[in-house]
């Protein structure tokens, strides 16, 4: 357990006054403005906001794939300057490797880090099983359905055993039915194997269903508008009055965009 720069114990990832601008010929666009946040160990945090408000940019900055224009990101108290194995990412486009089997994809991280074969076989077996893909170890990615692909993406990120998992709208490409199913699945997986998760979505129902805490962002540039601690018992019911009233309240506070 380490103490980070903000002095709080057991913070896995945090950022202070992070802003991000993109410059082009037409001038500079501010995408993120002055965001400070902290994510505690095993917390399920949802970054929720309208349309193209810079959620993915924020995730890129937090994971180290991109650098902030100003402000600092800390991971376990250390400054983040580049991506690292302790910060896993599940991309919106899934970004699975089509030249590898399910096993090859899931075991990629441990293999890249030089674990012995027996170790990465064991690890990948465990996580393939966890996401419910037992029996598909030797299937190639193109043979899988959308939901199965996203399971592979989750297993691949989990299998590298990162401190924090970033998930960028992981279910946005799925059809409605599969999306509900995967929301249940991610809850089941997370309850079995607790991890710190930073989950991005623009779907209010999904946000309320999965989150310990929802960080509501404004439209471009993204600022923190409000935070909600969701303490509804799990598994949650999409149709319960408490669920619906939370959903309403957060929706009302969300910026409207076209």
């Amino acid at each position: 357990m380490r103490v980070d720069s903000t002095g709080s114990v057991d913070t896995v990832i945090s950022c202070q006054r992070v802003s991000k601008e993109f410059s082009s010929k037409r001038g500079t666009t501010k995408v993120i403005e002055n965001i400070s946040l902290e994510v505690k160990r095993n917390e399920f945090v949802v970054l929720f906001g309208p349309g193209q408000c810079g959620k993915t940019t924020l995730m890129n900055v937090l994971s180290g794939l991109d650098t902030a224009t100003s402000g600092t990101v800390y991971s376990l108290g250390e400054k983040v300057v580049r991506p690292g194995a302790e910060r896993g990412v599940v991309f919106q486009s899934m970004a699975l490797f089509p030249w590898l089997t399910v096993r090859g994809n899931v075991a990629y991280g441990p293999k890249a880090r030089g674990f012995e074969k027996s170790v990465w076989i064991e690890k990948s077996d465990y996580y393939i099983n966890l996401v419910g893909l037992k029996g598909f170890e030797d299937s190639y990615i193109n043979k899988l359905s959308g939901g199965m692909k996203q399971r592979v993406g989750i297993a691949r990120a989990y299998c590298n055993e990162p401190e924090v998992l970033f998930m960028d709208e992981p279910f946005s490409a799925l059809d409605a039915q599969t999306r509900y199913l995967m929301q249940e699945e991610i809850m089941r997986i997370w309850s079995t194997e607790k991890r710190t998760i930073v989950f991005i979505t623009n779907n209010i129902e999904e946000a309320v269903y999965v989150a310990d805490r929802i960080i509501l962002l404004t439209n471009c540039p993204a600022k923190i508008k409000k935070e909600y601690h969701i303490d509804l018992p799990r598994p949650r019911d999409y149709t319960s009055p408490e669920f619906l009233s939370l959903r309403d309240e957060i929706s009302k506070n969300m910026d409207r965009t076209l």
Binding site: S63, L65, P83, A85, S93, F97, W99, N142
Partner: protein, 258 residues
Amino acid sequence: MNRKLFLHLLISILSVIAFVGIWHLFTAVLRVVSVNTLPDPMKVFTSFIKKFSNPNPDGATLLQHTAASLQVALTGYFYALIIGIPLGIMMAWNKYIDRFVRPLFDLLKPIPGVAWIPLMIVIFGLGIASKAAVVFFSAVVPCVLNSYTGIKQTKDVHLWVARTFGASHHQKLFTIAIPTALPHILTGVRVALGAAWVAIVAAELLGATRGLGFMIQQSRGIYRTDIIIVGMLAIGICGGILTSILTIISNFLLKGRR
């Protein structure tokens, strides 16, 4: 399914039969052209069979000529692969290597392989080396170009995934970029084989002491059109067999991707 396959086979055979039939009609039946100018199919067939054991009129049997051509072509082709593929990969992966090699490569690229024949014969004489060099120059260009294009297909998001898993620059090349490029690399390998086979025959037409091109050239001098056609058939059959072997290999290497 089987009936459909049979039908397709039948249609394919029909085209060959029709071609040979028309050829037979114009030569053996109608005698539009003299037998010395264009022999009939039966004559070519018997010459083809005889040529397996008969070294006349050019000093070697059909198999000896074929082996000579294959030996030279495959030598040049082999060097083209082991130099061209890594060169293309390195040019695509490292911009300094690209800058260094590109001016020279762009200058040599438009020169057809056969344009090297006179110079190579002057330098290396009529032996294996000159013709292998011509084959090399013809085959190396598609190897470089396709490997380069293939590596350039690498998706940024795949590289990001690798980075979040802690993969090194070296690992990104070998576990992400090269697997991405493999279909293109194999296309280059196939195109290069075609180019190599064209180059060897062209080189042998101009200067050789053995080989299918040499056999054709010798037969032209003594008006043995039947042997010219035998040589052309042997070239076609060999090229076809080599291409099929490569297709089988690349289908094996790319299994699961489609």
